[in-house]
Structure formats: C-alpha cells, structure tokens
Amino acid sequence: MQDYSDREQNAKGGVLTWVATNLGRILVSLFVPVVTFLILWQGFIFLRDSNAPQIVIVLVAILWGVGGVALLFLVSNWLVEQLPAVWTRRLQPFVFIGPGIAILTWYLAVPVVRTLLLSFQNELSTAWVGMDNYIFALSDRVMLEAFRNNLLWMVVGTSLSVGLGLLIAVLADRSRFEALYKAVIFMPMAISFVGAGVIWKFVYTYKGEGAGIQEIGLLNAIVLALGGQSQPWLQIPPWNNFLLIIIMVWLQTGYAMVIISSAIKGVPAELLEAARIDGASEIEAFFNITVPYIQGTLITVTTTIVIFSLKLFDIVRVMTGGNNGTNVIANEFYLQSFTYNHAGRASAIAVILLIAALPVIVYNLRQFQERKAF
C-alpha cells in the first residue's frame, strides 16, 4: 500500500524529489548510528580515564549503552514524524532498518572488501604482491595440514553432532524425563571454550611413568585400569585431532538437539499413527515420515555447524595451540595476523575461509528462494 503511493509520488515529483528522497534516506540511516556512536564514544573515553570503582563504571556503562541506543531510535523517529506526512512515509523505513544496515556495512561488508585488497599486498601492506599470499596459503605445509584438519572437523564433527543430536532428540521425545535429559545435553553450550578446555584437560592429561606417579587424567586412568599403557594423548597425530573433535561434539550436540527436537514436535501425530496402522515399524516411520518432515531443520542445523567448524578456533588454541599436527585455518590466521604480524598472509587465509563458505551461502539463498519468505 505504501509502496504504491510512494511510486506515485516519485512519478509526479521527478528527479528532484528522487534525489531529495534518497539523500534523506541516507541521512536518516546514518543519523542514529553516528550520533549514538559520537555520544557513546565520548562517554567511554571519559569512563576509561576515570578512577571510579569498577562496579560503578560497569553499571554506568550498561545503562549508558543500552539507554543510548534506545533513546536515539526514539529521537530519530520523532524527528522524522515532524516532517510532512509524505516525507515521513518515505523516510520512516530507514529509521527502522538504517542503523542495522549501517553497522553491518561497517563491520562486515566493508571489511570483506578491505580484506580482499589486503590479501594482495605485502606483510605491512605497503606494496602489491599479486598472488604471493595465496600461493603461500595454498602450498605451505602448515596450511595444508590446517586444511586437512578443518576438513576433518567439518565432516566428522558435524556428522557426529547432528547425528547424536538427532538420536537424542528422537529418543527424548519418547521419555518422561525429556526436560532433564535435554538440560544435561545442552549444558556444555553454556560453557566457554576455555572452560571446556579446562574440563577436557582433566580427561586427556598425561603425567608419564615413574615410581609413585598416579595418572590424574581420566582417559589414562581408564586405559591403565584396563591393563594398558598411559599415553600423551594430545601429542599423537593424527588421533589427537579426533580427541579435539570430541570436545566440539560435546559442546555442539546440545544446539543440534534443541533445534531438531522442536522440529520433531511439529511432525503431525496423525501422520505417524497412520503409518503405524499401515504396519510400518518405528524405524520405517522415522525414516519415511519424520526425517522428510524435518529435513529443512536438519539442513539449517547442519549448515550452522559446518560454518561453525570452519571458523573453529578456541578449542585448538586452548588445548594444543595448534601444535603436534592439530593446526586449523582460523588458528593459523590468528598466528599470522597477531603473532607474525603478516597482514597480507592473514588476509589471504581469511579470504580462503570465506570462499570455502561460499557454497553454503549459495545453497542457503537457494533454499530461501524456494521457501518464498517474501
């Protein structure tokens, strides 16, 4: 309805109106973020340099930030509503979407372009070096190892997380203690990777042999109790990668389970009942009715976890630092940009990460078109 009247106005007003409208839209889009930013910025320089007790600074900061953003939405909307009705109608959408778009442009869209440029420049971004950084990123031994490991993470980690999540969601659906089981499985999501690292160090740690030494890592204790030899688990390639992947599965299964579980609740009971009456076994009913019905959700969950494992950094950083053949792309990116200070190589690695994720973008956009969300 609004779109229609808008077009009508455009046709009548001609070029001048068009220019003024778009100028107004850009101004409105930038108004909230820029003014908010300026005010918050000054406040923070002040806060950072002040000597107030930390708790006071924290409380003031929270109120300052949240209140500031809310207030500026209010003010910019009020300003736009003071304009003549036609202009209000034209500009108001940009009061709503402007700040979001502006922040996305600053934080994601522009960096994509800039990283692309940096990736063709040298260490300190002072000269163009053509494809050198990409040649390094695609041929260096350390990088190749990182690619292999990321592939492992993506394939093994994702399939285990989604598979287990699906199994637990299906089984929990038939149990009286569903909420309890789900809470336990979801709990690791609330734990940071660093915390998870601590937890898993107590599983994988190794003390070595010697008189009177007792292993304090659970895995070695179990192996010893079964009559085996204790091992420095995280130092044995390539198996240490799988031990690290187990940590990711432990963390991510909860996410897959919760989302799949809610989709399973959406499968119509009559459909399943009809299949059972027709003589289908539980397993047949699961594969022929439940799985096709929740297919969309399964794709979404798998996509998210694939992207997650592509970007994975924390577990490796905390557990092994990428040593002993456990390096991954994101860790190598971190090393290149913050330890070796090689902006060119770091950017090339980041661009490769993005390209690796491209098929996932395309696939998701196609799904999106099929669903006709507009």
């Binding site: 979407i97 089981y181 940071s192 601590v198 973008i361 956009l365």
Partner: protein, 369 residues
C-alpha cells in the same frame, strides 16, 4: 487376546527401558568431564597433582603398612628369602603379591635394601575438600614469597572478580543492543515497503556466512584510529556487528509471520509504525527475542577471540582471564578449575531462566519456517 495385551505392555515397557537406558548412558558420559572439574575445584593443589579426582570416592587402593630392611648379610644378587617366599631382586622390583593379599615392592635401587609392604584397603572416606580455591580465585590476592637469593617477590593474583564484572559489562549490552537493532530492522524488512528491500535483505542473509576473522583486522585498524581499543563500546559494537545477520534473519522469520490482520487493524486505528512496533510487535515477539537472547548471550560470554583482540590483556573478560591462567601458570589447576566454574554460573543461570521461552521460540520459528 489377554496374552497379546500382556506382550504389548511388555514390549512397551521394554522399549521405554531401552530409551531411558540409552539416554541415561549418554547423559552420564556428558556429565562425567564436568563432574571431574567440579570435584577438582574443591580439592587443594597438592591433591590435584597427586591423585585423580575420582579418588575422593571410596575405593580400594594399595596402602603402605610397613617396611622391611634387609640384613646386610643377605646377598641381593641372589634370590632372596622373605616373608615365606623366595624371589629375585627383579621380581621384587615389579612387585609380588603374597597369599594373604599383602604386596611386596622393592623401593628404589639395590643399595636401598628396602622393601615396602602394602595392603589393599578401602580409602577415600574422609574427602579433603576446601573452598580456598574459590576464595583465592575471586579475591585475586597478592602472593609474596622469597626467591633463592632472598629477594621478596610479589606476584599479583589473577583477579577473576574483576574479569567477571568486565564480562557482565560486555555481555549484557552486547546482547540487548543487537536484539534491539535487529528487531527494528526485521520489522522494517517485514512490514514496511521501500525500494531495494529484497536486495538489501538478501545481502544481509549473505553476510551470515562471513567469518568474523575476516573483519577483525580492518576493525582493529579503525579502532586504533578512533582510539577505541580497550573500551566496552568497542566490544558491544563488534558483537553487534557480528551478531546482527543471524539476529535479523531469525527475527525476520518470526515477525513476518505475525498475523497481518492484527497490524492492519492497528494501522486503521491510526497508530504510527513506531507505536505498533513498541506496543504490538515487541510484546508479541518475546519468545523469538528470548531465544535469540540466549544464543547471543552465550556466544558473547564465551567469546575469546574478539575479547582477546579488542580488549587485550589489560582489561580481561572471563575467557581471557581463564586462558591466561592456563598459559602463564600451567601449574595453577586449582585456580583454573574454580575459575572455570565461576565463569559457567551466569550463562547457566541465564539458560535455565530463559529455557522455557527458548524451546517455545524455536518451535514457533521452525514449524512455520
């Protein structure tokens, strides 16, 4: 007929047993690593390194009951007669179990001439647990000690209390701000018409997959120019930027599916877009907002990379403080474990308090989606 019913009931009982059995098994496996750290966090530092955390439970273990020192006349190179058996030094080195259950083990090398006698006994009834780790971790107490040459050394404790406050200051606004902005944006995309709506929205969805690593370097340069590094604002904006695509996408899915009649009748009553948004859309979207709030909060609270790069070491959040305990002082596991638990508390509380909305919110999104 009766027999058939009984077998049906039996089968049902069996399948329920199987389901609960498998789930309980998985849950126990899921909980064991965490339980280990929970127990460890209450043990003192010597115990942590001397024995596994499971030894606080009663178990049977070899306990030393006595020593036998051999007479100097005995030739240790020949088989030795002892406690009614005859054994060589090598056999004793490996340990010999006597018929009465006692175990003989040679201590050290041949010259010690000492054999340790031990018996299997039940131990672990008096668990030696303490709250000191938590006290030390939270207070960040300074430790003074003298080194070999007599100089006094002052080591600053790792102040997790301050890191906790920093984390709260980062995570709360970094959860609310993106949700607020995303809700406005999602409403704009779903209910307002403007040129370029579809194109813009597709671009937003495409940004979902941009790894945040790609943005870190340029953002860091901007922050350096603006003198923003090390401020909360820098963290909020970064997390807002990185969280927005997912937030907009999820909230758009939800908000675009609200009943059209509701909004139209509000328009007819003369309500402005802003009023409709604040009075109608926001209250109706609570499940979706809450579900995204959990994800975003967990994500920001557990974030390590962004915090490390932007806030650095001077202003530590929980994850950075924890990682530095691992890195700088690899031996302080007693502080590490208690720190890990303190850092879990708030996310767990948020999770349990929003869990109800969370499942319902996801449900609404996925059924219709």
């Amino acid at each position: 007929m009766a027999a058939k019913f009984r077998s049906y009931a039996q089968r049902k009982w069996l399948s329920s047993l199987l389901v609960n059995g498998i789930l309980s098994l998985i849950c126990v496996i899921w909980l064991i690593p965490t339980l280990g750290v929970l127990i460890t966090s209450f043990r003192n530092s010597e115990d942590i390194f001397r024995s596994g955390w499971w030894t606080i439970f009663p178990h049977r273990q070899d306990v030393e009951t006595g020593k036998i020192v051999l007479d100097p006349a005995v030739d240790v190179n020949a088989p030795i007669q002892i406690e009614g058996i005859t054994a060589t030094f090598e056999e004793l080195r490996n340990g010999i179990t006597l018929a009465d259950g006692r175990k003989l083990v040679w201590y050290g090398n041949k010259r010690t001439r000492t054999i340790i006698v031990s018996e299997k006994k039940w131990v672990g009834f008096s668990a030696n647990l303490t709250l000191d780790n938590y006290k030390n971790t939270l207070s960040g107490r300074e430790i003074r000690f003298k080194d070999a040459s007599g100089n006094e050394i002052l080591r600053k404790g790792n102040n997790l209390g301050s890191a906790f406050l920093n984390s709260v200051a980062v995570a709360v606004p970094a959860t609310i701000i993106p949700i607020l902005i995303a809700a406005f944006t999602a409403y704009g995309f779903a209910w307002l018409n403007f040129p370029g709506r579809k194109t813009l929205f597709i671009l937003v969805v495409a940004l979902l997959v941009v790894p945040l690593q790609i943005a870190l370097v340029p953002i860091l340069r901007d922050y350096t120019k603006l003198d923003l590094n090390g401020t909360y604002l820098a963290m909020w904006l970064a997390h807002t930027g990185f969280g927005l695509p997912l937030a907009i996408y999820l909230l758009f899915n939800y908000i675009s599916q609200l009943p059209r009649e509701l909004l139209e009748s509000a328009f007819i009553d003369g309500a402005s877009n802003f009023t409709i948004f604040t009075r109608l859309i926001l209250p109706l979207s609570v499940p979706a907002l809450a579900s995204f709030a959990i994800f975003q909060f967990l994500w920001v609270w557990n974030d390590y990379l962004v915090a490390l790069v932007i806030l650095g070491d001077k202003m530590r959040v929980m994850t950075v403080a924890l990682a530095s305990i691992v890195g700088e002082k690899g031996q302080d596991w007693h502080l590490l474990t208690s720190g890990a638990f303190i850092s879990m508390l708030l996310p767990l509380a948020v999770f349990f308090s929003l869990q109800r909305y969370f499942v319902r919110g996801m449900l609404a999104g996925s059924i219709k989606g």
